[in-house]
Symmetry: C2
Subunit: 228 residues, 2 copies
């Protein structure tokens, strides 16, 4: 396998969610480079309807952190009360993941950088009306590829991150805290920094459990190809 | 800049939408490798609620191609009739893009491989109810990062692709053509193959037009960093 291919695959394979960060700041030129990588992503109509707000200011991070924790506590008590995770809460890794999510929520304000990846609804053409997204599939197809580029590029620079949407219930308040206009939707909140633990290979379902050939139910021949 | 970092950035920067393909088939082990790369993406609750249907069969591609063209013609006449693209149709590249989209729609059945990236709503926990997605932000955050990984990995193998959602109006029919159950949503249709033209750097808005520091409207200092 050639070196460039190997580098790309290794980057993806070690892009686990990072929720514990060292306090070291992230250099501005690195931030610019990963934002530029984000903009190389595709978007519907190639409209590039994105904006990125990079939050480093201590007070603003504190405000976001407080709001984020509030939203997480609401989500957590809903999940526990309704058994919303009963389909996955027995899986290995689930409890550890929830503990890490809880830690992150409690310490969000200490994250070196928080990036808000936004969709400007006025640039979504027929996908939005009066500031509301009416075609979510195409709209979100125009921001999450950019978010993935951002996180992969960050990983290449040795930075960890995690894609969060749990702040959704307090989106209006976060928007106000950063003076983001009402027609701009915060599609993802991404804490970013140098990880306090080494990157590891992610563990996922094997390909032969999630891929079919030609039609649903027909196995894709994957012998010898799945996760090593 | 180190080689691995350069390889990752180069891959992203040359991941333009490819809509014209050589007829050469895509080896199965390459398909498996890029699907595996897709599964390394993050997803809400790490539920990995994805399935990928890899369509190579000539008859099935013909059925999908016919449906896709029908959906594209409807979208096209809506766009022309309503002026839905008036915000972007004066930009350089717009007419060429539409011509390429039209070519792709007319020749979809000749594409070597069509990948349907699906969300299983029964694995979306509180994000779906009775087969309907009720939290589209978190649901699509659980599939488009995987789609981006898939396209980036494909690019690393010399394969071109493009993320499409325009088939949305005929999703039920495509689902039937591939025997995909009703509770499984096709989030993206990705034509894939060796490109008939060389990969080029994508052209995008410069970072300083789409990034802010700390709050909306405050420029991120990017001097000397934007697209070279």
């Amino acid at each position: 396998m050639d070196g460039a291919l190997q580098a790309v695959l290794d980057t993806m394979r070690t892009l686990g969610s990072v929720r514990h960060f060292r306090p070291d700041p992230v250099p501005l030129d690195v931030l610019c480079a990963i934002l530029e990588a984000a903009t190389w992503a595709p978007s519907a109509r190639n409209a590039q309807p994105w904006f990125f707000v990079v939050v480093q200011d201590r007070q603003r991070k504190a405000a976001i952190g407080e709001l984020y924790l509030k939203a997480w506590r609401v989500a957590q008590s809903y999940t526990e009360g309704s058994g919303a995770d009963r389909d996955i809460d027995g899986r290995p890794g689930y409890r550890g993941m929830i503990r890490a999510v809880d830690d992150l929520a409690a310490h969000m304000s200490e994250t070196p950088v928080i990036i808000l990846a936004c969709l400007d609804t006025t640039q979504l053409g027929p996908m939005a009306q009066h500031g509301n997204i009416i075609a979510p599939q195409s709209a979100y197809a125009s921001i999450f590829p950019a978010v993935q580029n951002l996180m992969l590029a960050a990983r290449s620079y040795g930075l960890g991150s995690t894609l969060t949407t749990v702040y959704s219930a307090v989106e209006d308040d976060i928007r106000r805290a950063c003076k983001i206009p009402a027609h701009v939707h915060i599609a993802a909140l991404i804490p970013l920094g140098y990880p306090s633990r080494p990157f590891r290979h992610v563990k996922r379902k094997p390909v032969d459990e999630v891929a079919f050939l030609d039609c649903w139910g027909t196995p894709l021949p994957t012998r010898g190809r799945s996760s090593k």
